[in-house]
């Protein structure tokens, strides 16, 4: 099995020396494509890292699992308060 350094040397010589290119051809395809594969993997990882923060939250930022969003003209009042109020009004009606 060729070491990575040996592979690198052959890779650099391949363009100029036909026998080095032949050696590379005999080398397993996945090893030859290793750099490219690593590049694609790195690209995919980078894509995921960039995309994850852009994903919308799976759950709304609201109290419990009830509701998607709240507007309130008094910022000090919790969302939970309004959910309970909406629930209580229905229950007492």
């Amino acid at each position: 099995m060729m070491t990575e350094q040996e592979f690198d040397i052959l890779w650099q010589r391949a363009a100029a020396e036909p026998h080095a290119a032949r050696l590379l051809e005999e080398y397993p395809v996945w090893r030859r494509n290793r750099r490219r594969n690593l590049g694609i993997a790195a690209f995919v990882v980078a894509l995921v890292v960039v995309a994850l923060p852009l994903l919308p939250p799976s759950q709304p930022a609201a109290a419990g699992d009830n509701g998607t969003s709240i507007y309130c003209n008094r910022p000090g009042i919790t969302e939970q308060y309004w959910f309970e109020m909406a629930d209580a009004l229905l229950k007492e009606a």
Partner: protein
């Protein structure tokens, strides 16, 4: 290969960015109408869940004091001696009582004890039924 990857990744990013920028529903007219009132706490809950599949939007007006409540009762023709009141109101003017005809309406519930009025927007029959079921279920649990 690189071109394909590039196109796929740009498309995916564009899609995700689009999803991320879905803003919450806009403030309703009713909320905007009362949000500036200093004597009222006003809230709009978008997506109040009635059951697994049905949600409604709710606007609540809560009077800060008795004076503010009296003003509200006047605006919505509420007689406080009747206790909790509930009616179907018109979308553009919930003070006006109406009947369910399949068109969007507001289920208005006024609670003098809480000095609060809730407006549950009903756009379709599923919401109308779910709201009734929610209340019936609650009533059943009480007994």
């Amino acid at each position: 290969m690189k071109k394909v990857l590039f196109i796929i990744s740009i498309s995916a990013l564009a899609l995700l960015t689009g999803c991320a920028h879905q803003e919450k529903p806009p403030e309703g007219a009713l909320y905007r109408q009362y949000a500036e009132r200093q004597d009222l706490k006003v809230a709009q809950v978008s997506g109040f869940r009635l059951c697994d599949t049905v949600c409604v939007d709710v606007v609540m007006l809560q009077a800060e004091d008795e004076q503010a409540w009296m003003r509200l009762t006047g605006e919505f023709n509420i007689r406080c001696e009747e206790g909790n009141l509930s009616w179907l109101g018109k979308i553009d003017n919930p003070a006006l009582r109406t009947q369910w005809t399949g068109k969007p309406v507001m289920r208005v519930i006024a609670s003098p004890g809480r000095r609060t009025i809730g407006f549950y927007r009903i756009d379709n029959e599923a919401q109308y039924d779910a709201l009734i079921d929610y209340q019936l279920e609650t009533t059943k649990n009480k007994h």
